[in-house]
């Protein structure tokens, strides 16, 4: 229980020295290392937080951009739909126009084809009618009928308008003109005389008349005065009938 004051004093000095030694070589380096580690951890955490904030910002920016893209896509889709609708409408109108034109063209072709068919049928019918009438009138033809037709021709000749008569007279002024009278049956002298008299009377001067027989006329007469022809016979009448029908159709 004794206290040695030298030991007491030295122990105080020793403790203070030990305090300095440990503070210098133990606490300070270890605390500095711990502080550096904490600073590193804090720095890493700070960087992580900054990274997180940056990532959140990028995420928000990305989401905003996605939203913008969505709007732009919807807008482009709407514009495309509108454009497609317009183009479709335009093409439908064009197609409808082409179809209408095609229908009109087809209708015209059909109408023309039907008219052509009708004309051909009418021509064929007229031809058949002509052939039928030719056969029928050929069987009916006789000198008596022809005599009657001479009478009718002379009546018509007498009733020719003055305008036609003046044309005939102008043609008959040629001294070399010879009037040709064709008949299906032979004409007797009386009939020939009546014909010559009628011609001379209306032409205003005596003309040379040549008589000939054309059995193809079936019955009746054909009088040629230069370029002029007057006829009243079955063949020419039927031909005129057929030509008149074609002329009307054409």
């Amino acid at each position: 229980m004794n206290i040695d004051w030298t030991t007491f004093g030295l122990e105080i000095v020793n403790f203070l020295a030990l305090l300095w030694i440990l503070k210098r070589f133990l606490y300070k380096p270890v605390l500095e290392t711990l502080a550096q580690r904490r600073a590193g951890i804090d720095k890493t955490l700070s960087e992580a937080r900054e990274g997180e904030i940056k990532a959140q910002g990028l995420q928000a920016q990305y989401e905003s951009r996605l939203a913008d893209w969505g709007k732009e896509r919807a807008k482009a889709r709407s514009e495309l739909d509108t454009e497609i609708a317009l183009e479709r409408s335009r093409q439908m109108q064009s197609l409808a126009k082409e179809l209408a034109e095609e229908r009109a063209r087809n209708a015209a072709v059909d109408a023309h084809w039907q008219q052509e068919m009708q004309r051909e049928m009418e021509t064929a019918a007229l031809l058949q009618a002509q052939q039928f009438a030719t056969k029928l009138l050929g069987r009916l033809a006789s000198p008596t009928l022809e005599s009657r037709m001479v009478d009718l021709l002379l009546e018509d000749w007498a009733k020719l308008p003055d305008q036609q008569i003046s044309g005939l007279r102008a043609a008959a002024e040629d001294p070399a003109l010879a009037v040709r009278v064709s008949s299906a049956f032979p004409l007797d002298e009386v009939q020939r005389g009546r014909i010559i008299e009628a011609l001379n009377h209306r032409l205003g001067r005596p003309v040379e008349v040549l008589f000939e027989e054309l059995p193809g006329l079936l019955a009746g007469l054909r009088i040629s005065v230069g370029a002029w022809q007057l006829h009243l016979n079955f063949t020419d009448e039927l031909a005129s009938f057929a030509a008149g029908a074609n002329h009307v159709d054409g």
Binding site: W5, T7, L16, L18, L19, I21, T33, Q36
Partner: protein, 232 residues
């Protein structure tokens, strides 16, 4: 006492075994610290560095439980107390060596250092006048009791550690003499525990005394502020 035996003298001062053992402890702690902290790694600490960091952090957290805002300031003093007292207590287990803390001169010296440090940290914390004023509060009548308390707790600090360690060494010696070589082993285990507990108690009491000195200033300042604030 064998502890007072002088090994050699330097002039008029006789150097006892206690002082020599203390120097040995200082040498071991100093060189060991220097070697261990030469190449501290921030990223991947080794086993020794991890143990050192664990010890320092344990001391710091123990201080922080009592005085959170001043743990870094008190770490060197209280940590050195714990380390030195623990090693000084345990070194008596090494055959041929004597525990310095089994010498009243050492424990008295440590108690005086604690006594002075309480005032040092107290004055450093709030200033001399404010620190001395706390002896007069709540009433100047209590001044003798404060002074008596200061000395009595310092004396208790020194005697408690000295008595425990001296008695432990003496008991171990008696058991060894009476029962033979292997029987004292459980007693030695008890010695280890007791040595560590005594070191912890000594350091913790020192910490509490210092914290009391510092916090009394803070409480006084807070009370004064409240009084001034409530005064119209």
């Amino acid at each position: 006492m064998e502890a007072l035996s002088v090994i050699f003298s330097i002039g008029p001062f006789g150097i006892t075994r206690t002082v020599v053992t203390t120097w040995g402890i200082m040498l071991v702690l100093g060189v060991g610290s220097w070697l261990a902290t030469r190449r501290l790694a921030v990223e991947q600490p080794g086993i020794i560095q991890a143990a050192l960091e664990g010890v320092v952090q344990a001391i710091e957290s123990a201080i922080a439980t009592v005085l959170p805002e001043r743990s870094t300031l008190l770490l060197p003093f209280v940590g050195t107390l714990w380390l030195f007292v623990a090693i000084a207590n345990l070194i008596g287990l090494v055959p041929g060596l004597h525990a310095p803390t089994g010498d009243l001169s050492t424990t008295a010296a440590l108690a005086i250092v604690v006594f002075l440090s309480v005032h040092w940290y107290g004055i450093r914390s709030a200033g001399l006048r404010a620190y001395l004023r706390h002896y007069l509060s709540p009433s100047p009548v209590l001044l003798p009791f404060h002074v008596l308390g200061e000395f009595s707790r310092t004396l208790a600090l020194a005697v408690r550690l000295f008595g425990n360690i001296m008695s432990l060494e003496m008991a171990a010696l008696l058991v060894l003499l009476v029962a033979g070589l292997l029987v004292p082993v459980p007693v030695l285990m008890l010695h280890v525990i007791e040595a560590l507990v005594q070191a912890y108690i000594f350091g913790m009491l020192a910490l509490i005394y210092i914290a009391g000195g510092m916090q009394s200033q803070a409480e006084q300042a807070s009370t004064q502020t409240n009084k001034n604030g409530n005064t119209p």
